[in-house]
Amino acid sequence: MLTTILIIVVSAVFSQNFILVKFLGICPFLGVSKRIQSSFSMGIAVTLVMLLATLVTYPLYTYVMVPLGIEYLEIIFFIFIIAALVQMLEKLIQKFLPALFRTMGIYLPLITTNCAILGVAELVLANDLSSVAAGVAEGTAMNFGFAMLYALCAGMGFTLAMVLMGGVRERVEYTPCAKCMKGFPITMMAASFMAMAFYVFTLI
């Protein structure tokens, strides 16, 4: 049990990192990683929405949609739930935590179309845990607790990659480079080297 939990944590944060290994949530990774502060806010916001989304979608799928035989509607249901959650979260934060809203308010609407959120909601529907978190003993059944843990760790891995990228880009911005490499291309190069570093974790 404990080893399973540990493997899920290591797998979701490092060896199956959402951004650098699974290629989910690249848009915010390239778009809002100019400063460490903003990338950290974005990471936290994404983690929060990921947890909330899994909290709603996993029980909905297992206990409502499967018994009713309407699994084929999952994409439509899930995207709606995520959009609604993001709206609600935005209003709640605006009302109760105005200071936080000022720092991460603009990132919240962007999260709706972030593939990482829908990606987590889709991935945790797999029956076998080992297909999601590599390294877990095969045949371990997926349950609600594991799904939530996986969502939390995936969000942490996302935040980690965002913060690292923010640090790299703060330096890269003031470094001279060829005109056609400015902007996205040089960021991609930096991401390539980070992906190489994370590749080592998959060999463990």
């Binding site: 290629f23 593939c115 829908l118 889709e122 005109k179 992906a195 590749y199």
Partner: protein
């Protein structure tokens, strides 16, 4: 240049979604490891883009402005659901290779972007053409990356083995970022060159030195 030709070239080359606007990056990076999966993903996105553009353009007078984004998302999600059912039934191997990226076509920024920027304002025929052109631009980009990565990473072309030489770097994740970065840089470089040539040609035709034209442009 007539209206339709302009829409087509804009979508495919001038405003290429992948290399110029850098949208839909997740799918581009995730499915460019081989030419086949890239082509499959590109064509799937093209189909969804065409259908959603047509439907949204037909409904553009009915959808109220305040709830347009949720309405667009419902249309797109429906199209993706249909596509997923179709692929699972008739092309199971392709749907298997696309994995989680198949449902994730819903949140592909290219599709929502075209719905918002084009299909919600233009007539059906133009929207359909724009959908196909943008989709083919994306297909071209992702297939090109797939070909490069497959050729260097496993020495084959569309699954046909060409030589034994291969660099593993290109077929894993770091290679995806690297190839994408190089492709964008090349696209920007070539685009700049063409722009310069065009400007030089125009200034010759007007018999003005190109510097003067630049200054005039900046002044305006």
């Amino acid at each position: 240049m007539n209206k339709y030709a302009k829409i087509a070239t804009d979508g495919m080359i001038a405003n290429n979604a992948t290399f110029k606007l850098v949208l839909g990056t997740c799918a581009t990076l995730g499915l460019s490891s081989s030419a086949f999966s890239g082509l499959g993903m590109g064509l799937s996105v093209t189909v969804v883009l065409l259908l959603s553009n047509v439907v949204i353009s037909l409904l553009r007078k009915i959808i109220p402005g305040t709830v347009r984004i949720p309405a667009f998302i419902v249309v797109i999600a429906t199209m993706v659901t249909l596509l997923r059912m179709f692929l699972e039934k008739f092309l199971p191997s392709l749907s298997e290779s696309m994995g989680v990226f198949l449902p994730l076509i819903v949140v592909n920024c290219i599709i929502l972007g075209r719905a918002e920027a084009f299909a919600s304002k233009r007539p059906v025929l133009e929207s359909a053409l724009d959908g196909v052109a943008t989709g083919l631009g994306f297909t071209f980009a992702i297939t090109l990356m797939g070909i490069i990565r497959e050729l260097l990473g496993s020495g084959s072309f569309f699954g046909v083995k060409l030589w034994e030489f291969s660099v593993g770097f290109f077929s894993n994740n770091a290679g995806a970022f690297f190839v994408y970065g190089i492709c964008i840089a090349l696209f920007v470089f070539i685009n700049d060159r063409f722009e310069k040539l065009r400007r030089a040609k125009r200034s010759r035709a007007l018999r003005v030195p190109s510097d003067a034209l630049d200054a005039e442009k900046e002044g305006a």
